[in-house]
Each structure stands twice: as structure tokens, then as C-alpha cells.
Amino acid sequence: MNDTLVELDDLKVHFPIKSGLLFDRTIGWVYAVDGVSLTIRRGETYGLVGESGCGKSTLGRGLLRLVEPTSGRITFDGTDVRALEGEQMRRFRRRMQMVFQDPMSSLDPRQSVESLLVEGLKAHGLHKDKAAMRTRLRSTLDAVGLPASALNRYPHEFSGGQRQRIGIARALVLGPELIVADEPVSALDVSIQAQVVNLLGDLQDSLGLTYLVIAHDLAVVRHISDTIGVMYLGALVEEAQADQLYERPLHPYTRALLSAVPIPDPYVEDQRERILLAGDLPSPANPPTGCRFRTRCPWSQERCAEQRPELRVFDDSGQRVACHFAEEILRGELRPHEVRAEIVRPGSEAAPGVGAELIQTRTDVPAP
């Protein structure tokens, strides 16, 4: 039996930048996800790390088709997900669920926990048998460590950790095979993070779930993942087994990332050597030519500007890397040089005023 659950092949998600005199025309694209291929095995946890704006969240949503991918192929348990249409897709969602970063905003404040959980069941016609539904709710709540009395309470009455449990319960109640967890702990207090991390682990053990965990915190990802993919500016730059990646990072970006994560141990900290990257992440609307990391890479060469490196299998360990000079760097043949920081303008998506239109309320308009 094939143990691959999810396979992405050259997935691209591009967002149009629109502007126009009267009707909006597309004047450019944000290359949020620009050609990612990866495989997630059944029952494993695939960790996706990268800094904000690297496209990791978009990848997760694209995978679930919550944003429509521009091109590429998504295969879930042998099914071509992108070929599913309307009702088919809707029904298929039962098998792949999502856990969000901010449990407050992802839970409809107007609905009680019960109706939040029942909603998914209803959508898939699982609410008909009342008794079975009850049992299901109970067991799900139990699984995430919430009392049954939580059912008739509302999200804002819970603490952050509990809310995230509700969010997980909502995903679990449908009995999915894959859960995409987008920054599941980053909004939580340090002392609560462990609870949720443990919960995710427990659930995987007991239910045989497959996770795609998206996070910026490399330590958390390392802790829970089997395989880790590192994203930079819309593309996967390196992928390896968790330990392998930590032991032997190949891509300069991975190296920098690893060296930047603070470790709560002064002895370690005092001895660490940091690879400090210069400057900021370039705008995904206007990515550099060739290797996207070259503008900040201390090992960059001329070739990096001309040719975009493929994600290639490095050696037998299955570690994959997208760097022309991974071998040279590993062997220490290439010396790092100094990089001048370039000024990077915040992308248009960060511009203020985007969002709900400003609506003038009528108190602001004179009455007679």
C-alpha cells in the first residue's frame, strides 16, 4: 500500500495585484507560492518553516483549496484534488481539515461550542443520528481535553489554550485524515504552547493523523515534525528529516535560520556562531532573478543570479536542497562574503487601508 497521503507537484498560487480606472485590471502578481513539490506520508508530521511572507500559509490553504491554486497538482490519497468540483470538493473536505493560528478570530464569536462543532457534522450529513452525534461530540471534546459542559459556552469565555482546543476539536470532529495546522501555537502563551503541542502529538498517536504543521518557530517544528521543509519566498529551499536538517543544514538560508533561533541555555548561546543575514525578505511581488535567496546569501555567486536552482535530492538520506553550491559550502570550499543590505519596501499587502472599505456612518453626515 502506498504510504503517501499528499503529493504536491509544482504547486503555484499567484495573487493578482489589481488596479484600474473603473474596473480593476491585473497589473502584477504576488508570487506567494511559486512551484512547490512535496510529499507527505501517511501518519507523519510534515513541518513547514519560513519567515512571514514566505508563502507557507498560502501553501497550506492552497493545498486545502481554500485559495484556488494557479497551477500544479494536488494528489490526496490518490485523488486529484484540483479536479474535484463543487459538491464533490465540499464533501471531500471532510478528509482534510485545518487548525488556525488565532483561535479567537477563527471561531465565530456568535456560536456556542456545540453549534461550532455541529456545523461541520451538518455539512456532511452526520447530524441525523442524534445519539451518535452526541457521542461523537463528547468523545471529541474528551480527546482535546475539554469538559462536556463546554458545549453550551461561547468561545470568548475560554482562555487562549482552551480556544485552540476548540479549534482542534472542530477539525477533529469530522474524523479527517490530514490536518493542516497553521501556526497552531504561535498565538499562545509560552506555558500554554506545550499543552497544545502535546495534544497534537497525543492525537496523532491515538488517531493516526497526518499533519502539515506550518510555523515560523523552528524549535516547535523540530519538536513535532518528522520531515521539515524550509520555505523562502514562495519556494521550498530545503527538505529533510528533522534531525538531519538540524545536524546538517545544507542551504545557506537554513543555516542562517538555525543559527538565529535563540536557545534558552546561556552556555549554548554563548558559544553559538551566528550567521547573520543582511537586510530583509524581498517582496514576493518582485522576487529576485535566479536564486531568490541570493540577495541575502553570504555565499552567492554569479551563477545564482542567472539560474534558479532546482530542489534536488542531495544524497541517499533523501535530503533535498535548492542550492547550486550546497556541496561546496558543506565542504567549506566556498568562503562566505559580506552582503550589503538592500532596502526592501514593504509589500503592497502590508499597506494600510486595505480591508473593509471605510464606510461613513450617518452620524457623520448632517441631519437637518
Partner: protein
Amino acid sequence: MLRVVSRRLVQLAITLFALMTLVFFWLRSLPGGPVDALLGERATPQTRELLTKALGYDQPIWVQYGRFLKNVLTGNFGNSIRTGEPVIDVISRSFPATAELAIAAIILAVGLGVPLGYVAARHRGRVLDNATIIVTLIGISVPIFFLGYLLKGWLTQGVHLFPPSGRITTGLDNTEVTGFFVLDGLLTREFDASADALWHLVLPAVTLATIPLAIIIRITRASVLDVLDEDYIRTADAKGLRNPTVRRRHVLRNALLPVVTIIGLQTGALLAGAVLTEKVYNWGGLGTLITDSISGSRDYPVLQALILLAAVVFILVNLVVDLSYAVIDPRVRVR
């Protein structure tokens, strides 16, 4: 910037065209109208027929529309039914009156509203603040025509503090240059005329300013409170800047951003308020023109042009607001 302007202008043109077409066909489908208005009570049926023909109402509607469109595109909005003058003349004569009134009102509203709002915010939760809130709420709730009547009744009758109506004392032979009487008096050195016009301006301007004033106070207050909560004010304080510097440089400038938007909206809305105020004070501006063109006479040519004008003013004012917003707020400039 240019993009915003051109986008708005295209929008304006389309809006105007839609409005124009809508209004034209709608008016043609209404009972009464020009024929009735031109005839008075004494017309014979023959005269009525004659008139219908003279106005071309016997022609198919699309012919009439084509003619109307052609006229409008050449800047000809026809003649007023009520006065027989070209509509353009009627409107361009009334415009300065309303503009003068509106500008005075805006100056009053902004000049008083911003400081009052600021003071209220600085005294948040205290008596002064609460009093301001209550007064402004009442200000918003008062029908302004009634307020106008009260002011007029109290200050022009018995005690003749102000003239009860009009823009200038009747018979005062002032020379018109721009149609802004106060300004004209200055330009022509007829200072008594200028003063007289100013004197006439006080009550109407106060009346018209009431609601914008109340709103500007409220917005300023809210906005200042918001800004005071901002992190950069904390930064400014952490720098040890002196209070006046913080207030001027950091608080006011940011607090004025929403106020500018409101001023823009209010300027457009003043036109509506002017209808009431001008009626109360017999102020011969656009407001009066609107009521005169509807009430009794149904002066549709004028009405048509006025609707278009109101739309133009409203949209242009908002464009100006957007532009000034861009001037004040660098964040908007990028787009």
C-alpha cells in the same frame, strides 16, 4: 496621484451621465411639469396644445432625449421655467451665495470644532468633556430649521442684533465682482458693503454650522483619544519631548486625518443643510433655488442641473479630501 484623479473623474463622468439619463426619463414620466408650470391658471386648452408643441413634447421621447443630451454636452441646460433665464445663469448666480455661506459655516465649524474637540479629549471623562458630548448630541438632534427660526426670532426681532434675512441690506448699492459679497466689498473698497454682508452672514452661518460643528467636535474628540492611545505618542513621551511639541507635532497632525474626511463629507452635506438654512434666512443661494424649483413651480430644467451640480460638488469635494489626505498622510501617497 494622477491615477486617483483620473479615476475619480471618469467615475464622475459616468455617475453624471447615469444621473442625467435617469432624471431625464423620470421627469418626462411625471404629471404636470413644465407645461403646467408655464401656464398658470388661466390658460385655454389651445394654449396648452400650443405650448406642448413649442416645447417639443409631442416628439418621441428619444428625440427629446437626444436633443437634451446634445444641449447638455454643449453646456446648455435650457432655460428656467420660473424665470426664463438660462439655467446656467441662474445657477452661477446662486452658487457664490451658497459657497459664501458654506465657507463661512465650515470656517466656523472647523475653527471652533477642532479646538473644542481637542479640549474635550484632554479632559476625558470630566465635566467639561461630558458637557461637550451632551451639547454635541443635542446639536445633532435639533432640526436646524427650527434652530434657525429660534435664532432669527430671538436676535432679529425686538433686539435688532442681526438682520433677519438676505445677504445685504436692501438698497445698499454694492458692486458685484465675484458674487461673494464680503469679498466683493473688499475688492471694490466698498467696505461698508463688505461689513454689511458679513453682518448678514453671521446668523445663517451659525445655523448652518451647527451640525458640522457638533460632528467635528465629536470626531476630533474621538480621534484625539485614539491618537493619545497610540504607541507613537508613548514613544514621543519616552523621548521626553515637551508637551506642546507632542501635542502639535504628534497628536494634532494625526488626529486631524479623520477630521479632514469628515470636513469633506460635511462640505458636500452642507448643500443639504443650506436648503433649510437658506429658506429660513431668504438667502438667495442654491438651497433657495432648489426649494423654489421644486415647491410650486417644478422647474425641472433647473432641478436637473442642480442635481448634477450637487453630484459634481460632492464628488469633487471628496476628491479634494482624498488628495489633501494624501498630502497629510504619507501612507496614502504610495497608491
